[in-house]
Amino acid sequence: MSDSGYEDRVGREFPGGEYTLAPWRVWLTADVLLDDPWDEVPHPVLAWMAGVAGSGMSWDDLFAWFDATAEDGPMFGEHHTTLHRPLEAGATYQVSGRVVSVVRKVGRRAGTMDVVGYELDLHLAGADGREHVARCYNSIVFPRRRA
């Protein structure tokens, strides 16, 4: 392992925002998964979808933080969702997020790559303050063919 030159991005916060689990999104998400669209509990994959959509960043924005574009072929690495409570249809979640790690690796076949980890938090505003509903961690692998 060596320095990627992007270590200073660790801790950088996403702009954040809000995301509402509108009933139509809940219905269509279950339907595209060939699951029951009439189930009242939103599908858990919506935790990640809400986090990404409410992060205040586009994929291109995030790639640009690491001097990459979609043409460089970034790939999903790992994913981890923790649900502290189930999602609710119709609820509006406050989304925050940040870069948590940057690691340069060199694979025998894949060559040099930077693995960037980021996490997204969903909070629900309620009478008792902000309740932490979910955290999603994801890593993106950026191939560095020229490194």
């Binding site: 990640w48 979609a70 923790t82």
Partner: protein
Amino acid sequence: MSTAADVGPGTTIPSLELVVDPEKMKVMTALLADPNPIHFDTRALAALGMDERPVNQGPLNMGYLQTMLARWAGGRDRLLSFRVRFQGNVLAGDRVRAQGQVVEVRETERGRVATCEISLEVVGGAVALSGTADVLLEETG
């Protein structure tokens, strides 16, 4: 599923099999606002020198595993934690199988929780995702 009391290490989760439909991928593209053409545009795939079958979105692949877990555990509200590594692509028209097995059962503040090893594989092909998940079997009264 069988009663929560019957679940223990080695219990097999009923698998879930389905064929990946490119029309669903188009809807997911809109839901995700994901402009990447590899998920819907066969002409773009050809131009990139890739298989002309669109590449399924990662969240759909994750979702199949979560659906399997939720159906087994008795509801979507039963999933507590879900961790996977992306190992390969799933293409339109592929038949995939979500599968899993319990490796540990423990008592927690929220109730009885099963830790499961899970994977999504292309039938006749390679593993696309593998990882672990915690599901709530029985809530503390």
